[in-house]
């Protein structure tokens, strides 16, 4: 792993809604090194997508607002850049792949035209150069007859093919960071396996760093180097991929892993289920946001929100209790 690429500190994002201010991200700090793949795991509404969208300033504002924090990318704060500067970064040095390839592609534009757009904008290519580069990119993501298929529209592509196009577009300007927001959630298992293999191959060939947002602990296990688990707008655990699965320390991580049926399980065990449901935070919590659902909660959990503390090499946990040993 190389040098530090992006360093996010104390990021906070709020959304103004008719019911009050939703605290979506509550002081998240993390970093990403060159060539590293960071998995971000959590359930819907935990703030995983909002965190990454905030870094690229893609939060619709209003109602969203980044209220605090820094996101230092190559010595400059992404959150303080003017709109022209950040536009140069988006789709150029940092690019993004979204969950639903059907809604993120323009249905009335040919694939060729959509692919040429970032190339002409960021790399100042002319139409001919952009076309050649598009053909090369489609070949790279495994789409046969690329030259012919450039003339087609998104509806003529299957779901897996569309996601390949999205990845090709994201890679077109040789980004240093690729943010993939649930890129395989809408796809079938066999197609998901194709896309995961493709991204792994491209990562090794091009040496880019990846932030892979997902709710699927299985996919993360096969692609990430490091994993961050989020809950209620906080990072509650962060560890190297092997440590997280072998030695999970936060009760929520334990619960998530326990609620998955294992494909190689021998006997039929009842699934562990976390009672209740994820919170919507209208106030910055003064207690641990997971306490109401936690089976290990002690009195102190209701009094103070635990900070993220280092418990091992590269392993950080925000919990007052060590579920393996009882209270700390």
């Amino acid at each position: 792993m190389g040098e530090q690429l992006i360093d996010v500190q104390n990021l906070e994002t709020h959304f103004k809604t008719p019911d009050g201010i939703v605290h979506a991200v509550n002081g998240v700090s993390f970093n990403l090194k060159e060539g590293e793949t960071l998995g971000v795991v959590g359930e819907s509404g935990c703030g995983k997508s909002v965190t990454m969208l905030s870094c690229l300033r893609l939060i619709p504002s209003p109602p969203g607002k980044i209220v605090a924090g820094k996101a230092i990318f190559r010595g400059k704060d992404l959150l303080k850049m003017d709109s022209e500067e950040i536009r140069q970064i988006r789709g150029g040095q940092i690019s993004m792949v979204f969950q639903d390839p059907m809604t993120s592609l323009n249905p009335v534009m040919t694939i060729g035209k959509q692919m040429a757009e970032p190339l002409m904008l960021h790399l100042n290519m002319n139409a001919e150069q952009a076309r050649n580069r598009s053909i090369e990119l489609l070949g790279m993501v495994g789409i046969p007859n690329a030259a012919d298929r450039l003339k087609e529209y998104p509806h003529q592509y299957s779901g897996g093919m569309r996601q390949r196009v999205m990845i090709a577009m994201a890679l077109s300007c040789n980004p240093q960071i690729l943010i993939a927001d649930e890129p395989t959630t809408a796809l079938d298992v066999t197609i998901q396996a194709q896309i995961v293999e493709l991204v792994k191959r491209l990562r090794d060939e091009l040496g880019m760093a990846i932030i892979w947002i997902t709710h699927d602990l299985g996919v993360v296990a096969s692609i990430a180097h490091r994993v961050m688990v989020m809950y209620g707008g906080y990072i509650i655990e962060e560890a190297n991929v092997k440590d997280l699965y072998v030695d999970p320390r936060h009760p929520y991580t334990l619960g998530l892993l326990g609620s998955l049926p294992l494909i190689h399980e021998e006997t039929h065990k009842k699934l562990f289920s976390i009672e209740g449901m994820p919170p919507v935070l209208y106030q910055k919590p003064t207690s641990c946001p997971f306490a109401p659902r936690c089976t290990y909660a002690i009195e102190h959990c209701w009094k103070e929100n635990p900070p993220l503390e280092t418990v091992g090499e590269g392993h950080r946990v925000a919990c007052w209790v060590d579920p393996m040993k009882g209270s700390k």
Partner: protein, 326 residues
């Protein structure tokens, strides 16, 4: 008919084709072969898992069994009655025994009805209860699915996804059915909520002696909940076996690929295991490939596969497969 008394539902050669119309005169130009000759049976009290990728016909199979679509051909025997031949009124009465839980808890509940009306509607439709009795039945049903009976005056939008799915389960249970088709009941839910709903379905099965057809694309969840599992590909069942048998010893190359594609939440295991990555996409069900339907993506296909439809064979007791090379 059914000789074995333990068999609750027997599906024989079920075919469901949807016509395609084109042009000014809406002429029929072809058919979508959604389900193309599917046979299996479900024993009393068991859960049969039905897995496959989107568009393989698994939901259509479930809906044709319940006669929500009129099957093109084939028969469905439920307790010795052929549902396909049943006239509308006897079929309506039969629906008390046959219920369904839907995938999308947001779309399957009427937003303008309260929980009491949603769960109580089947009771009213069949004249099983009226007035105060409905309130009592609804309260006990909500209690059964672990929802607070005090919520019966609320509307669906006031509930989370997992709670809505519980309302859907309560509605399905209102008429004491014996057979429930669960059509991807958990795929729209969050991971921690999925486990809650699966545990609930298992508890209810035990308490009420229910029989499930559990349709899903999540193979690990299907393995968890099912007794036997059938794998579908492009309108046909390619393999059917006892759950541990199927996962330990898959005989069809499609099942093998599907199993190896499941993401496993264990980085050490996923590094070691061999993954079979299938090329390409599922072909269109309008023109399915000749011979074996999987041959276009099969890593081991030979010439024979294009010419002959593989026979449905019982290779080991209770383990059926349709492949020339198995």
């Amino acid at each position: 008919m059914t000789a074995d008394n333990n068999i609750l539902l027997k599906v024989e050669n079920l075919v469901m084709h949807f016509p395609i119309y084109r042009g000014v005169f809406r002429r029929q130009v072809g058919v979508v072969h959604a389900v193309d000759g599917v046979s299996f049976d479900i024993k009393k009290g068991e859960t049969l898992g039905l897995v496959g990728e989107s568009g393989c016909g698994k939901s259509t199979t479930g809906r044709s069994i319940l006669q929500l679509y009129k099957p093109t051909a084939g028969s469905v025997y439920f307790k010795d009655t052929n549902l396909v031949k049943l006239r509308p009124e006897p079929m309506r009465m039969m629906r008390r025994e046959l219920q369904m839980i839907f995938q999308d808890p947001y779309a399957s509940l009427n937003p303008r009805m309260t929980v009491r009306d949603i769960v109580g509607e089947p009771l009213m439709a069949f004249g099983e209860a009226s007035g105060k009795q409905i309130d009592e039945r609804v309260a006990s049903l909500l209690d059964l699915v672990k929802l607070n009976p005090d919520f019966s005056g609320r509307y669906p939008h006031e509930f989370s996804g997992g709670q809505r799915q519980r309302i859907g389960v309560a509605r399905a249970l209102a008429l004491n059915p014996s057979f429930i088709v669960c059509d991807e009941p958990i795929s729209a839910l969050d991971v921690s909520i999925q486990a809650q709903v699966v545990n609930l379905l298992e508890e209810l099965q035990e308490r009420l002696n229910l029989t499930y057809l559990f349709i899903a694309h999540d193979l690990s969840m299907v393995r968890h909940i099912s007794n036997r599992v059938a794998v579908m590909y492009l309108g046909i069942i390619v393999e059917l076996a006892d759950r541990s048998d199927l996962y330990k010893n898959p005989l069809h190359p499609y099942t093998q690929a599907l199993l190896s594609a499941i993401p496993v939440a264990d980085p050490v295991y996923s590094e070691q295991r061999r993954r079979i990555i299938l090329e390409g996409d599922v072909p269109s069900p309008v023109n399915p490939p000749s011979g074996c339907r999987f041959r276009t993506r099969c890593p081991i296909a030979v010439e024979k596969c294009a010419q002959m439809v593989p026979e449905w064979r019982e290779l080991q007791p209770g383990h059926f497969v349709a492949c020339h090379l198995a």
